[in-house]
């Protein structure tokens, strides 16, 4: 058959020479290669102790943000839950009471905010939908667990740790 690409090359079939047939030089060559690898630097990253840096646009675990005064930004509007294609987010809204102004920024806040990490596909649409810049997928990986119920993350795991001591804040 005619070659279409003209790149076909017929390799000559040369019988093996004596040194190739006794196979021992080839074995020694292979052993030299494995020995070289034996002393090479190992490429393994020992995971729990060392971690590979995440890329800048990595989307990991969600965190609910606080504002500059340490108040929760979320106003429980439900846009994140609505935008979520996996329907992983649920929440129960509550009204801010008198004296809670230092805890919640808006008059309405999320009393319960739950994300099912098994449903979540980490698409980041909640992040885009949020009008209050309250949710970001800027955490690490979601760790493994044994039970399904433990993958439903509540506010205890999601809300960012306050970086200001709440005791010192002046009560408005």
């Amino acid at each position: 058959m005619q070659s279409l690409s003209n790149r076909k090359k017929v390799l000559p079939q040369v019988p093996m020479t004596f040194w190739e047939r006794i196979y021992i030089p080839a074995i020694l060559k292979g052993m030299a290669i494995t020995l070289r690898h034996f002393f090479k630097k190992k490429t393994t990253i020992k995971y729990p102790e060392e971690k590979r840096p995440y890329s800048k646009n990595f989307r990991g675990m969600h965190s609910l943000k606080r504002d500059e005064e340490g108040r929760e930004r979320c106003t429980a509007c439900g846009l994140c839950a609505l935008s979520c294609p996996a329907e992983a987010i649920t929440m129960i809204a509550a009204e801010r009471q008198k004296g809670e102004e230092h805890l919640y920024r808006e008059e309405k806040y999320a009393a319960v905010y739950e994300i099912n990490m098994l449903r979540c596909i980490f698409c980041g649409l909640c992040e885009e939908a949020c009008p209050k810049e309250a949710i970001y997928l800027d955490g690490p990986h979601v760790p493994a667990d044994y039970l399904r119920k433990d993958f439903i993350y509540g506010k205890d795991k999601l809300v960012e740790q306050p970086f200001i001591n709440l005791e010192e804040l002046p009560v408005k």
């Binding site: 074995i27 292979g30 052993m31 494995t34 690898h37 034996f38 190992k42 490429t43 393994t44 020992k46």
Partner: protein
């Protein structure tokens, strides 16, 4: 005196037995470490520092695994398989001279369990028995893969025992004795090592011992890709553990045999020129002997992670068409050289 002799031998046997088992245990870790290092990864390092507790964990796991004996299996032979494998692996070390004489007070202790004057024949006999464990286990499993593995083990062992024996004959023509103790004693210093007079014989011997211990590239009886697990497909729990253990003990013992037959056993260069006392020479000799053994064990593992497995017909071709003619040629060459040396010098 008799009682003291019995106690001495008993203590020696126990020590050697313990050392053998510990080395076999840590060979499993060494194998995984070396495999890792040769593949650019660190190997097991979670159990204890550098993974030194890994063999204990593996052993514990083996003990607690469920023990399954297949319904169609021949029960007594199925149990006997691994037992026979490990017993034959352990008793081989009886004739190996681990060192010279250790003198405590007036009492001289030979660091050898039994100085049989047919030591090499004893080793060959026991190694030949070793394949029975594999054969019984494979046959009694009532599984075609196991049976295939057992058949392969038997045919491989028979084929390679011939060339192994022939390569030893050439060595015996040089040594003029079958006693392990005398063979090692002949190789005093460095230049008297038998590797210098029998390089071809050593090459044949080491290839055959790879085949006899069922190590890669001759691990056709196990052969995961074709036969699942080969002869130990149906084995579980500590029975499987014993089969693996016997493989590692075999490796240790054949390393010891190679070191003592060709690499001078406990002899090391300038051993009598450094002005050491007899006991010190013995102790250093034992350490040197173990270093040689470890070097051979490393070599076994190095080869394992370098070479792929032989195909069955290649195995047979190598055994019958290459090694046996080579071994016979080696005998002839040795004979010619011995006569030439006697007539000319």
């Amino acid at each position: 005196m008799e009682l003291v002799f019995v106690i001495e031998k008993f203590v020696l046997i126990v020590i050697i037995f313990v050392i053998t088992l510990v080395i076999a245990m840590y060979s499993t870790l060494a194998e995984r470490k070396i495999a890792g290092f040769m593949q650019d990864r660190p190997g097991p390092d979670r159990a204890g520092p550098f993974g030194i507790l890994q063999p204990l964990c593996d052993g514990g796991k083996f003990f607690f695994k469920e023990e399954i004996i297949p319904a169609g299996a021949h029960k007594s032979l199925f149990v006997m398989g691994p037992a026979l494998a490990i017993i034959t692996a352990c008793i081989t070390s009886a004739v190996i001279p681990w060192g010279q004489t250790l003198t405590i007070g007036d009492y001289a202790i030979e660091l050898q369990v039994a100085d049989v004057n047919i030591g090499i024949l004893y080793i060959f006999g026991v190694i030949a028995l070793g394949v029975y464990g594999i054969m019984l286990g494979g046959w009694a499993s009532n599984n075609k893969f196991s049976l295939m593995g057992a058949i392969r083990a038997a045919s491989q062992s028979i084929s390679y025992e011939i060339s192994m024996g022939l390569s030893i004959i050439a060595l015996l023509m040089v040594t003029q004795t079958l006693s392990m103790k005398e063979i090692v004693a002949q190789q005093e210093g460095f230049v008297n090592w038998h590797i210098w007079t029998q390089p071809l014989g050593f090459l044949i011997f080491i290839i055959c011992s790879f085949a006899e211990t069922n190590r890669v590239p001759f691990d056709l009886p196990e052969c995961e890709t074709e036969l699942i697990g080969g002869y130990h497909t149906e084995y579980s729990s500590m029975k499987l553990g014993l089969f693996m253990f016997s493989e590692y003990i075999n490796m240790f013992v054949s390393s010891a045999v190679m070191a003592s037959l060709y690499f001078g056993g406990y002899n090391f260069p300038f051993m009598y020129d450094m002005g050491l006392s007899e006991n010190w020479i013995t102790i250093i000799g034992v350490i040197v002997f173990f270093i040689k053994i470890f070097a051979f064990i490393f070599f076994f593992m190095w080869i394992r992670w370098t070479l792929p497995r032989f195909r069955y017909d290649q195995l047979m071709n190598l055994g019958w068409k290459m090694l046996i003619p080579l071994a016979i040629a080696n005998i002839v060459l040795t004979g010619v050289f011995t006569i030439l040396k006697d007539t000319l010098f």
